[in-house]
């Protein structure tokens, strides 16, 4: 089993290397000159050519593609992510400020969504074709079809402006650096983020549960006289979890990528908004590092899926061992 995990883990290295080349080359092909995003057009129109040339040299835009890739990947290994082209800030520090914000938001949102998505999906399945099922299904469809920003704006209007129970946005107030002080800022965005995840997960859980509940071994379990709770949870829910687990784990990249809509609506400075600003500003160093980070998490998530699938379903690892032999 460890050999299986080891091979899967080692396979990540060449994948990451290839991805890094694709990211680097792909973003070099993006139309637009970073200089024109570094300096506002009106100012650029007034700048003399010598200053533009100096700036170009300083930003390393005159180096060859190979030199730039080598320097970029080398610096990453040294822990130096470089500087933002548009803000001139250190990317290490920018990410250090924003990544924890996104992790908090996405983790709470995912946790909230996972708990309630699984619960509602489970209830909806075992109460199939009852008013509870219809209500949850309707809520699920609303959750999926209504855009996040709409829920967000409503929440700000109601809880932030009218009732004044919660902040309308931001990540922290002055002097509120401690996590418990910041929880008030996380409530609305993580709840709204969770709503869509809940709806999706609930739909999947319901479908998976119904699929499993129709299997022969459930009928066998029932015919053996097992209690309904035992059948539903031990035999039904556990087996239904395997495909759902993949969906949950494949949401992990949001922990790094952030969610631009929620972040923008709630003025929450996370990775998602940073990435969008960087893309619109052709701030290639930030786009490249963030994309690479997201790729790393996606690869790790897929590795985690492999591990969990193998642990939950021995046929997978046994099959792999046989292939290896």
């Amino acid at each position: 089993m460890f050999k299986y995990f080891g091979i899967r883990l080692l396979a990540l290295i060449p994948k990451l290397f290839i991805i890094s080349i694709i990211i680097f080359l792909g973003l070099q092909l993006v139309p637009g000159d970073p200089i024109s995003r570094t300096v506002p057009p009106d100012k650029l129109a007034e700048m003399d050519e010598e200053k533009v040339a100096l700036l170009r040299e300083k930003l390393g835009l005159n180096d060859t593609l190979f030199e730039r890739y080598g320097k970029w990947i080398g610096d990453i290994f040294k822990g130096d992510f470089g500087y933002s082209l548009s803000t001139h800030g250190e990317i290490n520090k920018i990410i250090a400020n924003r990544l924890p914000a996104t992790l908090e938001l996405a983790a709470i949102g995912l946790l909230f969504a996972t708990i309630f998505g699984l619960l509602f999906g489970f209830i909806s399945a075992i109460k199939q074709r009852t008013p509870i099922d219809y209500s949850l299904t309707t809520l699920g469809i609303i959750g999926i079809s209504v855009p996040q920003f709409f829920f967000g704006l409503l929440a700000i209007l109601f809880f932030g402006i009218t009732l004044k129970w919660l902040p309308v946005g931001g990540r922290m107030g002055v002097g509120e650096q401690a996590f418990f002080d910041r929880i008030q800022y996380l409530v609305l965005p993580s709840f709204i983020l969770g709503i869509v995840y809940i709806a999706t997960l609930m739909r999947y859980t319901r479908g998976s549960m119904l699929d499993v509940m129709g299997k022969d071994y459930i009928k066998v379990a029932r015919s053996k006289g097992l209690s309904e709770v035992n059948v539903n949870i031990k035999h039904g829910f556990r087996n239904a979890l395997i495909p759902i687990m993949v969906i949950i784990i494949m949401r992990l990249p949001y922990l790094v990528a952030g969610t631009v809509i929620i972040e923008t609506v709630f003025n929450y400075p996370g990775m998602g908004s940073m990435l969008v600003f960087a893309i619109s500003g052709t701030d290639l160093p930030i786009v490249m590092i963030t994309t690479l980070l997201i790729a790393v998490v996606i690869l790790l998530a897929s590795f985690l899926v492999d591990v969990l699938s193998a642990l939950l379903d021995p046929r997978i690892r046994l099959g792999s061992d046989k292939e290896g032999a």
């Binding site: 057009p41 800030g89 209007l157 902040p167 400075p269």
Partner: protein, 596 residues
């Protein structure tokens, strides 16, 4: 019944869809119909937030009770806006910075009196104790205050001023360097031939700045506006690394009435009073700046409505319709619309593409005059609601510099056609119009221009310049007309761009199309110290500009400020003029108030 409700709702949706794609006046009528339909479908007993009754009720409550000053207990909450974001450092103040904190953190040699903003004789001294201007206008002598300290305890000296003036000439991003060319020795520093500016000297507490040619506007363009930074912390930094010198820019120090206390990138920073502040005492103790870079204008307005910030301005708020909506529903908030000298215009490529062939038609002033008459400036300005003003000259009609003898702008297609015919214009030739603002409003405005020119049979082919803008606009020059933006503080100064040493030279160059009368006229304007004589030359320049149409001003954009006047009180004179360059912010008049 259920079917009727569903049908009514469906009808309302269809009407709403049409309303979204319909001009505003029609949309208002459609909105009324939608409201009627919705009223029929839904019970009117439902209470909704922001009904007229509630607003009226709220209006009645505003300002009730006795006004008390709460400067010691309350906090002034402001928006932290910065073009470079708020992720890892503060923006250097010599960029085009619109945030308030530079004015609170750093000082200048003096400030202009907001009640007499163009008169240097009534200037309010700041870091300088006095200023003397020689009779020929070529030597400025400042006595520097000897009681000023940086907030790290280091004494402030004339060397800081000398450093700040000099380093500006070496930076990539500086909005001041362009107006320092008249200082003796400045051009040598810009060219990299000298390290120090020979015309700037410090002797004890006395600083002198010598000019090669008279330039009265150096007072407002440099001395009253350029923040002085500390030489002892930044003097050894490579100018190309200046903005990246994080030892300073993560928590900059200054000499102003407040100093930075706590910083949390990218969330907020706080300011407290500077105990060594040398000027008129300020009342407000604490100032908090909250970043809205991530959420943008909506987040700024939400915080304003929720009472979390007291003042929103600059790039954070630029939509008049949105701002008016905020004010309508929140009577404690007031809106101030202030015309600015930022404007959009056409400039013409007389040089032609880089094939050596002159662009005959764009070089012909009759064609340019025709384009000025042909362009529907009012329609383009209307795309920005009430915040844009169509322009006849580059000087705003509200400005005291405006030549009132010039008649109001009117579109005249017939006259334009006649001018084009007189110029022998080749109507089969499409005009290549370049623009570089990649947003929908600009694209809509391009559609307006296409329609305008089509009325006389000219095809316009607009295209968005992307990539190396410098190369496209100046070197390749594969365009006839450029739709661009320009901003100056002294309104007449916009003609500065026509000087042979400035940007316009890149398009018109030393081609046969340039008018020889301009440069002597502009030089006289720059050198003239007498305000009345200067105004007369400014008037003449505006007439010259219309006649020659080197550029065609289209519209000027206003700046908006929203203030919670139930929490914040200050002398509002600052808002009454668009010529407020270098005007004092009068921090001592700012008070936090409450009604109890």
């Amino acid at each position: 019944m259920k079917r009727i409700v569903v049908l009514l709702l469906a009808l309302a949706m269809v009407i709403a869809m049409f309303a979204a794609c319909t001009p505003a006046e029609v949309a208002e009528v459609v909105e009324d119909v939608v409201e009627d339909v919705a009223d029929d479908a839904v019970s009117s007993d439902d209470e909704t937030v922001g009904t007229e009754e509630e607003v009226e009720k709220e209006e009645a409550n505003v300002g009730e009770g006795e006004k008390v000053y709460v400067n010691d207990t309350a906090v002034l909450n402001l928006d932290w806006w910065a073009g470079i974001g708020t992720d890892s450092k503060f923006e250097q103040p010599w960029r085009d910075l619109q945030s308030l904190y530079p004015h609170m953190l750093w000082g200048t040699l003096f400030k202009m009196d907001p009640y007499d903003v163009t008169n240097v004789n009534s200037a309010i001294m700041d870091l300088a104790e006095s200023m003397t201007i020689s009779d020929d206008g070529l030597l400025y002598t400042f006595v520097i205050r000897d009681d000023v300290k940086w907030t790290d305890g280091t004494p402030f000296t004339g060397a800081d001023v000398e450093f700040s003036l000099t380093v500006n000439l070496k930076l990539v991003h500086s909005m001041y360097a362009a107006n320092m060319g008249s200082i003796t020795g400045a051009s040598a520093v810009i060219a990299g031939d000298a390290d120090a500016v020979s015309g700037i000297a410090v002797d004890g507490n006395t600083l002198t700045v010598a000019l090669d040619t008279p330039f009265p506007d150096i007072t407002t363009k440099i001395f009253a506006t350029m923040q002085i930074l500390p030489k002892h912390l930044l003097g050894d930094v490579d100018p190309l690394e200046f903005e990246d010198y994080l030892d300073y820019w993560t928590k900059p120090i200054g000499t102003g009435p407040w100093m930075i206390d706590e910083v949390s990138f990218p969330n907020y920073f706080t300011m407290v009073q500077n105990p060594d502040w040398y000027g008129e005492p300020v009342n407000i103790q604490n100032v908090y700046f909250t970043s809205h870079v991530t959420g943008g204008v909506e987040a700024t307005l939400a915080d304003l409505i929720a009472g979390n910030i007291d003042y929103a301005y600059g790039n954070g708020v630029n939509d008049i319709v949105q701002a008016e909506n905020v004010v309508a529903n929140n009577p404690e908030i007031q809106i101030f619309t202030r015309p600015s000298s930022y404007q959009r215009m056409f400039v013409f490529n007389g040089k032609g593409a880089n094939d050596g062939q002159l662009n005959e038609f764009m070089g012909n002033k009759l064609v340019r005059q025709a384009i000025a008459l042909l362009t529907d400036k009012a329609a383009a300005a209307a795309m920005y609601g009430n915040t844009a003003t169509p322009l006849k000259t580059a000087v705003l009609p509200t400005s005291s510099w405006y030549n009132t003898d010039i008649p109001e702008w009117e579109r005249d297609v017939e006259a334009a056609k006649a001018l084009l015919d007189e110029a022998g214009y080749d109507y089969s030739k499409a005009i290549r119009m370049v623009y570089y603002y990649n947003e929908q409003t600009t694209k809509d405005i391009m559609d307006i221009f296409v329609q305008n020119f089509a009325e006389v049979g000219i095809t316009v082919a607009p295209f968005l310049a992307t990539g190396d803008l410098g190369a496209i606009l100046y070197d390749v020059r594969n365009w006839d007309i450029m739709y661009c933006g320009y901003s100056t503080a002294n309104p007449v100064y916009i003609y500065d761009m026509y000087q042979t040493v400035k940007g316009y030279d890149k398009y018109m160059g030393d081609s046969e199309f340039r008018d020889e009368d301009f440069q002597p006229l502009f030089d006289t304007f720059i050198a003239e110290g007498d305000p009345i004589a200067r105004k007369a030359i400014g008037d003449e320049l505006q007439v010259w500009a219309i006649e020659n149409a080197y550029s065609v001003p289209i519209y000027g954009l206003s700046r908006l400020t929203l203030v919670n006047t139930q929490k914040l009180e200050f002398d509002l004179q600052w808002f009454t003029t668009d010529e407020n360059e270098g005007a004092s912010w009068q921090w001592s008049t700012w008070n936090l108030i409450d009604y109890q």
